[in-house]
Amino acid sequence: MTFLSTTWIVVPSYNEARVIAETLSPLLEQGYQVVVVDDCSTDNSPKVLAEIPGLNVLRHAINLGQGAALQSGIEFALEQEAEYIVTFDADGQHSHLDIPKLLEPLIEDTADVVLGSRFLTHEPIKNLSSTKKLVLKLAILYTNIVSNIKLTDAHNGLRAFSRFAALRIKLRQNRMAHASEIISQIREERLRFTEVPVKIIYTKYSIQKGQRIWNSFNILWDVFVGGFKL
């Protein structure tokens, strides 16, 4: 298990003090290197995070959004000589059991980016409302058309990058539009990618904390403005 010391899990977190310790403990137990990017939480996250041994914590001085937090964590991991970088949601909707499945194509060097897909699994997804499912499917359709890349799930926070890929991905979408941005950069940089089925655990907490459906409009706007020349 030599890859453990160079496998970094990046966990962007905003006001997740209630669940973050529970999310992190299996990751740390497995022996992964873990960095939490606390995106200027207003709850007692700093205290909770400081008490977890072996954990790296980055704290943004101002709230920037999940995309910005991911980029900070990825850059930090690269500076610590990470070979594999996995992004993992803080709210407990992902399972650490899926991480080896994500790493496998990277270690075998058959892909540069591995994307988790909740729609590849044959098991029915619990607690996923039909409206949310429809919006997710429309989002995938849109991303597939725009980026010309075929995917089954574009907006899943569980992803893995090789060092090679992580050095080429540069997220400039600070908020939620980073999901589409990753897909377009995969295409622009001609990275090899694959999808693997992952389980999403929709808890009452994660649904309450999760994306509201109307936020899709904000994402479309961010994608539009994000294309502006600066």
Binding site: V37, S72, L230
Partner: protein, 116 residues
């Protein structure tokens, strides 16, 4: 469709193209200056706005000015948005560097402590 409708739609399409492909702070300023020049002409020679308006099929000079203002404010909105986005990206970089520095500092103090 009459001339002014086509012109307004063309302006919209032109803006989208400009902001996605050609925009720079310098060219923004040139476009602002051109709008200001037209504004000055409209103020000093109001009879011309009516003439141009009739030629364009708008009718009244005041209506032409309103259309011109709508186009200008659309441009202004997008230009300010682009500028804000540039600032936001700079602020993001500063915040990120600060976060990484502070994380490193913590690690350094730990290793200093153990070597003593």
């Amino acid at each position: 469709m009459n001339f002014i409708q086509i012109a307004l739609l063309a302006a919209l399409a032109l803006f989208l193209f400009y902001f996605r492909h050609f925009r720079s702070r310098a060219s923004d300023r040139w476009i602002f200056s051109i709008f200001a020049l037209f504004g000055a002409i409209a103020i000093t020679m109001p009879e011309y706005t009516s003439k141009v308006a009739r030629w364009m099929g708008v009718g009244r000079g005041a209506d032409l000015l309103l259309y011109g203002y709508v186009v200008f404010s659309g441009f202004l909105f997008l230009a300010i948005h682009a500028r804000l986005r540039a600032l936001q990206l700079a602020l993001t970089e500063v915040t990120r560097e600060l976060a990484k520095l502070q994380a490193n500092r913590k690690d350094n103090s730990k290793s200093l402590g153990s070597s003593q």
